[in-house]
């Protein structure tokens, strides 16, 4: 079977495949990796040309679109163990793998967007506590800049190609909003462009931070790898990134500030954040070619349980610091010990409990989000007002929704 992934942890994927094949000598897996930044475009190209694999990585970001197009096959209709695994999943992850009431994936990794800061630099600026609101972040950033500790205290990985860009922005909106419907109402009508909305407050805040030289202008072209490296170098104090990066920034011997990076609950009124899920999915090709049984074995091994344990998911968590959706793993001593090396486990757990799936996950979400990235950029750059940007985003949403 062909198995397509994005290019993260290729060696570990290969090793996991080797172990799986050793236990299932009748199944051969051909693994192929594509770049993360172009992954959705590459996969759409494969689907459209009929060159899709039987197995692949997918994300809550694209599930609705791909499932609506008939490019993915519901797993719960074929693999009997999926329902059992679902009972142990974090709700945001389960929601992110569900389309039209059916489960389309089994998670290998689920995470939250976290607010991270460099404790050493913050202390140097005279602050002993992490920021709790966006106003705190602003005040502290001003102090960091004025004292010459950072030229730009805040960095974001908001290159238009960066998949985590919208997730970071939505996290800020969630944290500034109490309850549900931060972006859309129950009928999927946009509410984010209403005057005084959390999105409006966040965009105004970003514009102010950019204009006053607190937000690094390079944020608009920065991808996640550069973001992590510049944090490690102490060039910035605050950022938002997927939590698994904490293991990397705090890895011993990787920089002067290793061990100094902490997670704070997402600043704002509610401290809510985005929880997202990446998962294994199956295409209709596997069904057409009679490979369903092999797919289910693959799912059990890679995203499910082997000998009663989530072995592969746990391996990613312990060795790479990847987050997970399988709640029992939070109590696993090995996981707790591994996570404790780079993070504060109670805060990680608390932030996970405050995580929500992205609102508006529909077949047109992926298209809308690409459009929204440029609009957010233009608002930050001052090429249009923040209200114009939000109105344009709302208009695009309505247009795509009408198309269905």
């Amino acid at each position: 079977m062909d198995f397509v992934t994005w290019d993260y942890g290729a060696d570990k994927i290969a090793d996991n495949i080797k172990n799986f094949q050793a236990a299932n000598s009748d199944i051969t897996i051909n693994h192929k990796g594509y770049g993360w930044l172009d992954y959705p475009e590459t996969l759409v190209g494969l689907f459209a040309s009929g060159g899709e694999p039987e197995l692949l990585y997918s994300s809550d970001h694209w599930l609705q679109q791909w499932a609506a197009a008939g490019w993915l096959e519901p797993l719960d209709e074929h693999c009997p163990n999926i329902a059992t695994y679902n009972q142990e999943l974090a709700p945001y992850a389960q929601q992110g793998m569900t389309y039209d009431g059916k489960t389309y994936g089994l998670s290998y990794y689920a995470d939250t967007m976290d607010f991270a800061y460099n404790e050493a630099l913050l202390k140097q600026a005279g602050f002993d506590k992490a920021p709790e609101t966006w106003e705190d972040v602003y005040t502290m950033s001003k102090a960091l800049k004025e004292q010459g500790i950072n030229e730009y205290p805040i960095i974001m990985a908001w290159s238009q190609k960066e998949g985590a860009f919208p997730e970071a922005f939505i996290s800020m909106v969630y944290s500034q909003h109490e309850g549900n419907n931060a972006l859309f109402d129950a009928d999927l009508n946009p509410v984010f462009n209403q005057p005084g909305s959390a999105a409006s407050e966040v965009l105004d805040w970003l514009k102010k931070a950019y204009d006053e030289g607190l937000l690094d202008p390079a944020s608009l072209t920065t991808a996640e790898i550069d973001q992590v490296n510049s944090m490690k170098a102490g060039q910035h104090t605050f950022t938002i990134f997927p939590q698994y990066n904490m293991a990397e920034v705090n890895k011993e011997g990787t920089g002067d500030y290793a061990g100094q990076f902490k997670i704070a609950l997402m600043p704002g009124k509610s401290h809510n954040t985005v929880g997202y899920v990446r998962f294994y999915a199956m295409t209709p090709k596997a069904v057409a070619e009679g490979k369903v049984e092999a797919v289910c074995k693959f799912m059990d091994y890679f995203g499910g349980k082997t000998n009663g344990n989530y072995e592969v998911v746990k391996r990613w968590a312990v060795e790479n610091g990847l987050g997970f959706a399988q709640l029992p793993l939070f109590d696993d001593p090995d996981v707790v010990e591994a996570f404790g090396k780079w993070g504060d486990v109670p805060t990680i757990k608390q932030q996970a409990e405050l995580a929500r799936a992205k609102e508006g996950l529909t077949p047109w979400f992926g298209t809308w989000d690409v459009y929204a990235r440029a609009e957010i950029h233009k608002a930050i750059l001052g090429e249009q007002t923040t209200q114009q940007a939000l109105d344009n985003m709302a208009a695009k949403w309505e247009e795509l929704k009408a198309q269905g």
Partner: protein
Amino acid sequence: MAVGSSAAPSPVRGKRRLWDRLYPTLSIAIPFLVIAVFTLYPVLYAVRTSFYQYILTKPKVHPFVGLRNYQEVISNYYFTNSLTNTAIYTVAVVISVLIFGMVVALLLNTKVLFSHPLRIVILLPWAIPAVVAGLMWKWMLNSDFGLFNGFLYSLGLIRDYIPFFANPTLAKLSLIVAYVWKEGPLVAIFFVAGLQLIPNELYEAARIDGGGGWRLFRYVTLPLLRPIILIVMVYETMTAILVFDLIYVLTGGGPGDATAMISWFAYAEIFKFLNLGHGLALAIIIALITLALIILYLRLLHTEDTVS
């Protein structure tokens, strides 16, 4: 008997005549077939598809929509924006590359030391694939560790590293510089070839008449290079309008939509917004714009020939 048998056409001759008759047809048919399969069919298919709603995520629904795809893309804000960006970019790079090429060609045409090996070495940027050239510039202009920023900083010209790709104006300028660096050498070589065709006697006669530096260039070099300048303009205009790889690597159309050219817009419609109908309508529009410009240039070239 012998006469009778000699009157009948020999099988070898008959075959030969048949081959002679077929040869011209086959000679044309084979390349025609190749062109038809690899060029005509895709173009015709693209034209046909541009009249249908073709959204990649709706693989089973492709209703005929006539000119609606064209109407929708033309009325889109991004069309106007990308067309404006493309026009500014094209004018800027064509003028820059002509000036750069001319200056370098004039230098290479003098009898300076190493001018012959330099003519070969200077072609290197042109020989480098656009994606690699783009990556090189991306590293050189990087806002954290870029060579160019380091150079400016060491000279004391800047206090902080400049985020070239995060500023709309600087991002556009960076694209222009990268393009000129990549394309300029080829233009220079064209001009060197043109300069070597100008007879020395013309310069000598002009000098006897009292002409010097600028006047020689203005009244001898430039008029005689005009056909080459026009050819270069046609080629560089087409290349600039169709530029994609440099944008893809350097700016991704951003920040915002500051460097989104028309070809990038077509790519985004197909691969980001997954609307093949829109993307192909745009591709046809780009082809028509390019065709119109080529016709215009060719007419200018024809007029030039007639005047000559």
